[in-house]
Amino acid sequence: MSDSNKQIDEIASQMKMANDGLSEQDKAYFCDTRPHAVEPYKGILEKFANWARSQSLWILGFGTGCGAIELRPLMTSRYDMYRYGIQPRPTPRQACVFVIGGYASVKTAKRIVRSYEQMQGPKFVLGLGSCTVNGGMYWDSYNTINRLDHYIPVDVYITGCMPRPEALLAGFNTLKGMIREGKAEGMNKYIENFDWYKANQKKIIKDWNMPDYNW
């Protein structure tokens, strides 16, 4: 084999993920390609796309903690999130906003990572409640993560325990502003710092029995 071919093979193996958590038999079923960052379009096209993204926020309807109780009133006539273009979707494939509802136990963190990676970019994360900022009342719990943004990138935090649905709507409006300004690039941040995020995730999730990136 020539040197250039060896180099190509080396680069190719670096582009692959080890998927160590999977058994040899299961490895064949999962994709081992590393995710790659996607550059935004230039100029007015990206501005238009960002406007559309900000006007059509589809929430992943998974409740990942007690704060999920604050998501439900948003659908009612009192708060009516639909008028802001926000609506729930039941599958991560179609959603673009992941609202982390309060504390994330280690068991839930694994599901959060899985669901987050399955969402299609650009995707945004709202940290709801103080627990996502610093652990809140669970800061010294043996089984709860303290800082959510060590595990997935967070665009907007909404503090409080519990924050009211109005606070959640205010958070959504902040997120809309960020998307329109092109500042909500969490997905690319996640991919650019992929190894750091993975190391953090693997530090707490001991029973890692999924691929390194859930395509």
Partner: protein
């Protein structure tokens, strides 16, 4: 040659109108539903923004060739349904490709998209997708029974399977509409239309609030954008079909807009008034009284 180009231009105009009309109608009806629930509701143009957003997604997951073709088949089903229905009676632009016997082809096309989607959803490998497809096709087979009986009744009554001829036979006053000359056929078909439009109480197959969202569980990004575009076209096509078959067709585009709006409003009113059926309940429902009404309509023609 010029004729073909002209026909292509007319087809594009017709498709453009029905797509935009279908999207605006969807947005309007979401707003009507919101008003019933005491909400303000989403903007009327929200379906456009959703489609633009989905098509601007940066990533998309690919599961195989059939997964690509699923939404394409679905769109072909929607386009096929619409393009064989004369949308406006007597109009050259909106005559589409109607010919004698097109009613059978349209009925086939209503099914075609679902079958293509079933193959695409199956290849996604998600367990909820085939579950949703199975539920959808079961419900579809059930509401096709009263609808087919109703079509048989009106085909026997007017001795034709051409939609244009059926519309022509209904001209000359409201009492000539099939809704009044054959009310049983109209009732059976309008009940099955509730199932066909997939609103409440028959929305369990595709309801976004259900955890198994149905066939499109794995569809994302531009796949989903395509399905949403198709839904607007397909909805418009079905509304135009029912307007042509039972409510005297339309002599101008404005009459079409008013009549189809009212037909859609009827499904929304029913949907806002009744809770959701489970799939087994809706199958029992369609195979019960609506089918009996359909049989009665056919028997009355035979007498």
């Amino acid at each position: 040659m010029n004729d073909i180009l002209l026909k292509a231009l007319y087809t594009l105009i017709s498709l453009f109108v029905i797509t935009n009309y279908g999207l605006l109608l969807g947005g309007t009806m979401a707003r009507v539903r919101a008003k019933v629930q005491g909400r303000i509701g989403q903007p009327v143009w929200q379906p456009y923004i959703d489609i633009i957003k989905n098509n601007f997604k940066r990533t998309g997951i690919y599961h195989g060739v059939m997964f690509y073709l699923g939404p394409v088949f679905r769109l072909a089903g929607g386009l096929g349904t619409y393009l064989f229905i004369p949308a406006v009676y007597g109009s050259v632009v909106f005559a589409n490709f109607s010919f004698s016997g097109d009613l059978l082809l349209v009925m086939y096309f209503i099914f075609f998209g679902q079958l293509g989607m079933a193959l695409g959803a199956g290849q996604s490998g998600h367990p909820y997708s085939p579950l949703g497809v199975g539920r959808g096709l079961a419900q579809m087979a059930a509401f096709e029974v009263p609808f087919s009986l109703s079509i048989i009744a009106i085909a026997a009554q007017y001795q034709t399977l051409s939609i244009t001829e059926l519309v022509a036979a209904q001209q000359g006053g409201i009492m000539n509409w099939i809704a009044f000359t054959n009310p049983l056929a109209m009732i059976a078909a309008m009940i099955s239309f509730l199932g066909m439009s997939m609103g409440n109480p028959f929305s369990v197959v595709i309801a976004p609030q259900e955890i198994p969202i149905g066939p499109p569980t794995e569809m994302q990004s531009s796949f989903l954008g395509m399905l949403q575009t198709n839904r607007a076209i397909f909805n418009g096509a079905k509304l135009v079909l029912f307007m042509n078959l039972y409510f005297g067709g339309a002599a101008s585009i404005w009459v079409m807009v008013i009549k189809t709006f009212l037909i859609y409003l009827y499904t929304v009113i029913v949907g806002a008034s009744f809770p959701r059926f489970r799939v087994d309940q809706s199958i029992r429902f369609f195979l019960g009284i609506p089918t009996l009404i359909g049989i009665a309509a056919v028997v009355l023609q035979m007498l």
